[in-house]
């Protein structure tokens, strides 16, 4: 059994998605989804433990040996991302039941869970696969499910947002397909490990360079790299709350992982930095996105949009870490994958609870909630502190490494940008705190009570994780540093 874990990781949610669709009963769908997410988490943790010594698990699908068959390769990097994705799923799936009662018509609940499981399967598959084409297919599976999930939003704006995301996502996917195709014409293989070997002597090839450009831009679209981010705020702001939470915490993380995997696992650090100087593009775009997105987040009135823009800024941090091209920088990126999932998870879930009780998530809806929904707002505050990067929360850990990396590189202006952006984060989080704790509730809005326990519990699990991994960061930093060293390999 344990030798089939890599396959089960993807097949369980994929198959169960079909099963719940056939059963067509919302409650069964919910229970099965939750069970699936927990099972996935258990498998992911098991896999992480198996590869924690630096070994690589290779799994050949259907017994077809790579490079001919599709291979799933699990190493520390993707096992780490698997844990992030399935962990977030394991927390958010239980949360979803009550949350969607308020936001999605009952007739669509089965569909919702089907799409959610498909999305999970796609994300996990993208992470675990060792085959470039298989990556594209799983990317499209998760993307199609995502478009559907977004379109389930209460407002009609979610439809147009989903459509726009469909256009953009498909372009991104097609770019990736094109990049993979170019790689295949060049090397005749699709297996990532095999590709990496054969690319070695071909560094000067124009085809390889074109493939790299298409892949970076394609993946950049999926991870909402500035200026390809325009689809994201609309999608996050109009999707059902729990969908925003799930996507914000996982989808972009997997895209960042994909960038890492292609850059380091396929092209190699030497090619990416040495030949292509990708750090120039990444750092400049990341800096613009960190500052620009932070400022725009500050100007937003809708809290969900504010968080969406802050996500863009955080993605900027991750790209910055890659662009800094040293071990500390990559460590920061990897840590931030995990940490950002935790903090944005908390913030979006807290917002989902606000939505559940008040029917909205604008600043206005949140005014005076500090007293009426104390636990919800406390969770929001902890998430906010983490986002700012206050010590003893996870946010501090990744920010610390990022700053260290920028100093190591001698790029003080980058340090300044990171710190200024943190200051802006203080201000936008403070805006919410101010209306929630120091403003009276507007007379025309109803008084509300605290969110139910079934919503609070998952949220506070994440809050606890935010603090626990902020204080005891040795596990995450250990993995991240290991992976960063392996990825960078020769380049130093």
């Amino acid at each position: 059994m344990s030798m089939h874990l890599p396959a089960l990781q993807v097949i369980i949610p994929l198959l169960l998605a079909a099963v719940i669709f056939l059963f067509n009963n919302a409650r069964i769908a919910y229970i099965v989804s939750v069970a699936a997410s927990w099972l996935c988490l258990a498998i992911a943790i098991q896999l992480l433990l198996l590869v924690n010594d630096g070994s690589v698990i290779e799994y050949a699908f259907g017994g077809w040996e790579p490079p001919w068959g599709i291979a799933y390769n699990v190493d520390q990097l993707n096992a780490f991302v698997l844990v992030i994705v399935s962990g977030i799923a394991a927390i958010m799936f239980p949360f979803s039941w009550r949350s969607i009662q308020a936001e999605i018509p009952a007739s669509l609940h089965v569909l919702f869970y089907t799409a959610l499981l498909l999305c999970l399967a796609g994300l996990l598959g993208m992470t675990i696969t060792g085959d470039a084409f298989n990556f594209f297919v799983l990317l499209e599976i998760s993307s199609l499910a995502t478009y559907t999930l977004i379109s389930l939003g209460k407002d009609r704006r979610s439809l147009s947002a989903a459509f726009q995301y469909l256009i953009m996502g498909t372009i991104g996917g097609t770019f990736i397909l094109l990049g993979v195709g170019l790689l295949y014409t060049l090397t005749g293989t699709l297996n990532m490990a095999d590709l990496a070997e054969r690319i070695g002597p071909l560094q000067a090839s124009r085809t390889l360079q074109a493939a790299f450009a298409f892949l970076v831009v394609g993946i950049g679209l999926k991870l909402a790299m500035f200026p390809l981010h325009l689809w994201l705020p609309g999608a996050y702001a109009t999707a059902p709350s729990v969908v925003s939470a799930f996507l914000a915490a996982t989808a972009t993380k997997v895209a960042v992982y994909a960038l890492l995997r292609f850059m380091f696992g396929v092209f190699g650090a030497d090619f990416a930095y040495g030949e292509m100087h990708v750090e120039l593009m990444l750092v400049s775009l990341a800096l613009v996105s960190v500052l620009f997105a932070s400022l725009i987040a500050l100007l937003q009135r809708g809290v969900k949009r504010m968080l969406a823009y802050s996500s863009l800024a955080q993605i900027g941090y991750m790209l910055l870490g890659i662009g800094l091209a040293n071990v500390s920088g990559l460590t920061a990126t990897l840590l931030h994958l995990f940490n950002h999932a935790l903090m944005k998870g908390v913030l979006f879930l807290a917002l989902a609870m606000v939505f559940y009780r008040t029917g909205g998530s604008s600043m206005r809806h949140m005014s005076g909630l500090g007293r009426q929904m104390p636990w919800t707002m406390a969770a929001f505050v902890v998430g906010g502190l983490s986002l700012i990067g206050v010590p003893l929360t996870v946010g501090f850990i990744s920010k610390w490494y990022l700053i260290l990396a920028s100093i190591e590189r001698g790029w003080w202006p980058v340090t300044a940008v990171i710190l200024v952006a943190s200051l802006i984060a203080v201000m936008y989080i403070w805006r919410v705190v101010e209306v929630a704790y120091f403003k009276e509730r507007p007379a025309d809005l109803p008084t509300v009570s605290e969110a139910p326990l079934s919503l609070l519990l998952p949220t506070w699990t994440l809050v606890a994780a935010n603090i626990y991994f902020g204080i005891n960061a040795s596990v995450t930093t250990g993995i991240a540093q290991n992976v960063a060293q392996t990825l960078l390999g020769g380049v130093q």
């Binding site: 297919v137 499209e140 439809l159 459509f163 469909l166 372009i171 195709g181």
Partner: protein, 130 residues
């Protein structure tokens, strides 16, 4: 030089199709036309895969006696999958278009964006500056 150009004509076709698709996506506001543009764009990539799989002088990749040279079957197989994905995308896009038409009464994207913006402006007006 000219010869090179014609030798690689398949690439030029691909590039032309791709740019046509891109242009359609940028220039047309009609959602259906956008989906068509997307299809053209995807088809360009499909063509690329299929054309590079062809080995000149090679036969169809069906095992038979006295044939030594086969075209590469793998890209064709891959692109079959990609086409399935493309069809699913198109279907989803069309379904969304129908729902958008129901919800907004139009499938012109500019109008839709304007409506979204107006809705927000209205809400801001209603709530006043806070």
């Amino acid at each position: 030089m000219m010869l090179d150009f014609f030798d690689l004509y398949n690439y030029w076709v691909v590039i032309f199709l791709m740019m046509a698709g891109f242009y359609t996506l940028i220039a047309y506001d009609n959602l259906i036309k956008k989906i068509i543009g997307l299809n053209i764009f995807q088809s360009a990539v499909f063509m690329l895969y299929i054309s590079v799989g062809k080995v000149s002088g090679g036969s169809e990749p069906i095992a038979a006696d006295n044939i030594e040279l086969y075209s590469n079957p793998l890209p064709h197989v891959l692109i079959l999958t990609a086409i399935v994905v493309g069809v699913a995308t198109t279907a989803l896009g069309l379904a969304l278009t129908i729902r958008i038409k129901e919800a907004y009464g139009t499938i012109n994207e500019n109008d839709i964006v304007q409506m979204n913006r107006d809705a927000e402006a209205e809400k801001a007006q209603e709530w006043g500056r806070e």
